[in-house]
Amino acid sequence: MQRKFTLGLALGILTTMLPISSTTYAQNATDDIAKYREMIADGNPSELYEAAGEELWKKPAGPKNATLEKCDLGLGPGVVKGAAAQLPRYFKDTNKVQDLESRLMTCMQKLQGRDPQEMVDAPFQKGPKKDMEAIVAYVVTLSKGDKIQVSTNHPKEKEMYELGKRAFFFQGGPMDFSCASCHAEDGKRIRLQDLPNLTTQKGAALGWGYWPAYRVSSGQFWTMQQRLNDCYRQQRFPFPIYGSDLTMALSMYMAKNANGGTVETPGLKR
């Protein structure tokens, strides 16, 4: 036993002695990827969703045949500009901490008479979720450039933050992964993709600040709920329920950590 430990230690030291050539390789690849990202930055297809979302926002729909124009996203009924930069937050009428998508479900229910369960159950990119995604693109674009400013003053907000922090480190599944497996250290990569350290302000701003985003690899606009969903899929967890408190808590944790950063949504991601 003791011998194994010593050996392990010795190997650990050896492995830290990176061959110089390999670091150069990595640096070049990273620079080239940066160039690639720069080249595709102009012309973000999110704009196509944003345009569709604006139409849906102003179009009467649902059993009550009403628009979403009076939706209160936290800054008062009908105020969209800047609203996404301050979410998630506590809402008195629902007595809950809500992220953008959860709040939009509330508005669709109250104003339009739509059943939120249909939204929860719908697969991403289809049916009612397709509408949700476009509306999200529209709403977040109206916070582009704003400072992320999320409060934990309300006890429920504070509680959500603490629950989210704990959830962030919660390991499970056949690969023992948690969010922290990939997102709790600076300067790490998975394949060629940089992994923001979401436990720090800088890292959280890079993560939270750039989602929702158009995802190049799937050719789809992904909301934050879908981003979290796919993280859990890759963590080999069961399926996180759309709009669940778990997802509110994680969002609260990331968003609060990101405070002071800039809203860069909709982003353009691999």
Partner: protein, 150 residues
């Protein structure tokens, strides 16, 4: 395959209709080059475009990254100092070699950028036809695996 052919046929018919309705120009409707887009090799496409074996030319620039983070979206642009009338983007290792082609009327700059899909690392060719003569630029673009799904 059959279904694909049928839809292509149907599409040609509709194209004709659009042309007669003035929605697109007559020239364009006649020119959609089915044979070129079905070409499976560089030589096939060169032949169908009537490009022979184009010379590499410093007058043609291919704007593209060395590495694409994802093969689904690879930005590719062609610019030239020549008086281009036609431009084409070819990907050597794609199932069909020709990705896109453009017709440049007088008054339009010899510059076009679009985004293409690449199945794997490959040479990409930017072809320019000017004064009836074809020339080209070549660049290898590496397509990498990414993310945790690898």
């Amino acid at each position: 395959m059959n279904q694909q052919r049928r839809s292509l046929l149907k599409y040609s018919a509709i194209f004709g209709l659009m042309a007669s309705a003035g929605l697109i120009s007559e020239a364009q409707a006649q020119e959609w080059n089915k044979a070129a887009f079905e070409g499976k090799s560089l030589d096939d496409v060169f032949k169908i475009l009537g490009a022979g074996s184009p010379d590499k030319s410093a007058a043609v620039t291919l704007n593209a990254p060395d590495i694409a983070e994802n093969g689904a979206v690879v930005p590719v642009g062609i610019t030239t100092t020549l008086k281009a009338e036609q431009m084409a983007i070819l990907v050597e290792k794609n199932p069909s070699t020709l990705a896109a082609q453009f017709f440049i009327p007088a008054g339009t700059e010899p510059f076009v950028t679009t985004r293409i899909k690449m199945g794997q690392t490959s040479n990409v060719y930017g072809l320019v036809k000017a004064d009836g003569k074809w020339s080209m630029a070549v660049k290898e673009i590496k397509v990498t695996l990414g993310g945790c799904g690898g």
